[in-house]
Amino acid sequence: MDFSFNDEQQMLLDSTRRFIAERYDFEHRNHVRATADGWSRDVWKQFGELGLLAINIPEADGGIGAGSVGTMLVSNAMGEGLLLEPFLSSAVLATHAIVQLGSAQQRGDWLPALATGESIAVLAHDEASTRFDVMHIETQAVRSGDGWRITGRKSLVYHAPAANLLLVSARVDKEIGLFAVPTDAAGVTLLPRTTVDEQRAADIVLDNVAAAASARLGEDVREALQVVLDQGLAALCAEAFGAMDRILAATIEYSRSRVQFGVPIGSFQALQHRMAEMLMHLEQARSMSYLATLRCTDTDPVARRTALSAAKVLMGQAARYIGQQAVQLHGGMGMTDELEVSHYFKRLLAFELRCGTTDEHLAVYHQQIR
């Protein structure tokens, strides 16, 4: 039992935080989200230089291999800063998929460019049909000569507009296959969307898209893909924890400075008890973020799935309570676009809905324990 971080981990956290503090304050973020892309290529490049995009690439593949704890800490910082770049999408989800499913050739082809940030990949898995069964996809890949033809529709893939490479899951008979498809391949249409947490995404229509035999990663990826999704979920939890931590701090700070009836509103007992409750949600959420991080690579699928689902349920509920109360305690100011609080609130709302909602994960958890 050890809740400390080693020196490398602490350094990763500190350096990411320092970068964000220096280069990505709230004003800069407002600027970034107003750009056409909605994220910063410049920041992305610097992430590459700092090595942040290589933390999920094993040292053997030329990466840093910081493990799930390293990813947690970097994600914490990203959540604290409400960053808009495709870190989770490309440097966690897609990178894990390639590392774990790719052949030596594929890893060699794609990982170096992902590590520098030259290349951005996203995992295109979710569909309308995956809501209550995350592996129930309808996109199909059929053999065509040596290769494949893929047809289907993927829902709201975060950062797809930024990506040059899509990792598309598709049914191959009764198996699930994963295929690398360039975003500009013929038959690929991106329908851009903005998300409620101000990130860029797209629905992706695949109309008889050709993929070479070499574009397929692994064989039946059902089990492995679930591991990748769980690793992504752990990182998402860590990101959400960073946002929760900051929105509570902002609320406490606001309650100390906002004066009504001649006293700071933080002196009212009803609000004090509310903030105490928020803190308890936060600390329980921190515990579950740790659990998600340390179990997302567990080889026992039941231990892994129950841990991840438990984390998503508890943290989703914490996100809702903390987010709603933060807005409430900020009063009218909490309703405005002007303060950070509403942006944290929306990030936490997106967290609730992403990668399986609270309800969906509670059902998964219940299924495992009964």
């Binding site: 809501r131 409620v196 001649g262 909490g334 509403s342 929306k346």
Partner: protein
């Protein structure tokens, strides 16, 4: 004891329904259904003029001022039916807020000048109460009005002004005596929004909408004749108004309409071979909120019944505000949860985002109009005598 409407009331309800079916313009209704706020000003005015033509422009006003003479129950039926039919809400600031103050405390000249134009939607009114430093603690307001001959000269800032960017007139609380206790020294002024020195800056809200404004007053000159009642007695009128703001505070009509929508939408989403409405967990939550709404509807009618007897709204309205807004927020949560991950894609002016936009926007319900914390204080002090 009788929980049901009388035959006369039922006939009235049918009359309102028929009127709504015949007279509510389809394009307006359609925008309400889709949650499209792009024509709020035009739609509100058009609908008010239709109501006015029918003689229903100001349901709660006494007949002598052009009101309907309806009972409180009829007013409740009217508002609920309008909401259920997806009609726009009438603009409260004129009809429900400044008008009762004018009728009670205004001069005959003020009444003659303003009331007919409110009823006919000729003037759009807004409210200038809150300030950046005075939200829950309204009596701490600072905006100054200094007497200069027949005019007041106003300097200061108002905040959280709803829909003032459309307004012709604003009623304001201003400080006319800074030496007195906070509640003393406040006056109630009527101000033409075209007066020079007024700057309106819309505040962008978290859902991307623009509903509220900051308003700056820079040496704005207002005739003393535009003061309602006595100088420094504005707090009395403000409290009177806050009491009257409470009509339909529980939002029963809105909640019934949106709950109906939630049920019909959830019946269309399938999970494990049955709909989410039938799902024991999600459907159970719908059942729960429907039960709470049923209770609140009766509680609301009880308050109406008691008010009709006592002739004045009491602190019980705080209960309606708290439970009503909780239920509205709960329904909006369920509408969003119904969508699952689909609620993630967001554009505040898109039909698809209606549920998410509503969830975001309705966070305001427990903050504005006297936060629910303030309402709980009122209950503790005024009802429980703690």
């Amino acid at each position: 004891m009788d929980l049901d409407f009388s035959t006369v009331e039922l006939a009235f309800r049918d009359e309102v329904r028929q009127f709504l079916a015949a007279e509510l313009p389809a394009d307006i209704r359609d925008r309400i259904v889709r949650g499209d706020h792009s024509h709020v000003r035009e739609d509100t005015i058009r609908w008010q003029k239709i109501l006015h033509a029918k003689g229903w422009g100001a349901p709660a006003w006494p007949v002598e001022f052009g009101g309907t003479g309806w009972s409180k129950t009829q007013q409740y039926i009217f508002e609920t039916e309008c909401a259920l039919a997806d009609a726009p809400a009438q603009l409260a600031f004129g009809i429900k807020m400044v008008a009762p103050v004018l009728m009670r405390y205004g001069s005959t000249e003020q009444q003659n000048r303003f009331l007919p134009r409110i009823r006919a939607a000729d003037d759009w009114w807004c409210q200038g109460y809150s300030e950046p430093g005075s939200g829950s603690d309204l009596a701490s307001l600072k905006m100054k009005a200094e007497r200069d001959g027949d005019e007041y000269v106003l300097n200061g800032q108002k905040a959280w002004n709803t829909l003032g960017h459309f307004a012709d007139w604003i009623f304001c609380l201003v400080r006319t005596d800074s030496s007195a206790k906070p509640q003393k020294g406040i006056s109630f002024l009527l101000i033409d929004m075209k007066t020079s020195g007024i700057t309106v800056r819309p505040t962008k809200l978290l859902d991307g909408s623009f509903e509220v404004n900051e308003i700056w007053f820079d040496n704005v000159r207002v005739p003393v004749t535009n003061r309602v009642g006595d100088e420094n007695e504005g707090w009395t009128y403000a409290k009177f108004l806050l009491g009257h703001e409470r009509t339909n505070i529980a939002g029963i009509g809105w909640s019934k309409r949106e709950l109906r929508r939630l049920k019909s939408d959830s019946a269309k989403v399938s999970k494990d071979g049955r709909s989410l409405l039938e799902d024991p967990v999600f459907g159970g939550r719908i059942a729960q909120v429907e039960i709470e709404l049923t209770a609140l509807e009766i509680t609301n009618m009880r308050v109406i019944f008691d008010e009709a007897a006592k002739k004045a709204p009491g602190p019980e309205a705080s209960m309606l505000k708290i439970r009503g807004t909780e239920i509205m927020q709960r329904i909006s949560e369920l509408q969003m949860e119904l969508l699952g991950a689909s609620a993630l894609a967001y554009a505040h002016d898109s039909d698809d985002s209606r549920a998410t936009a509503s969830y975001l926007n309705l966070r305001k319900l427990t903050i504005f109009g006297g936060s629910n914390e303030i309402q709980r204080n009122i209950i503790a002090h005024m009802i429980l005598k703690l």
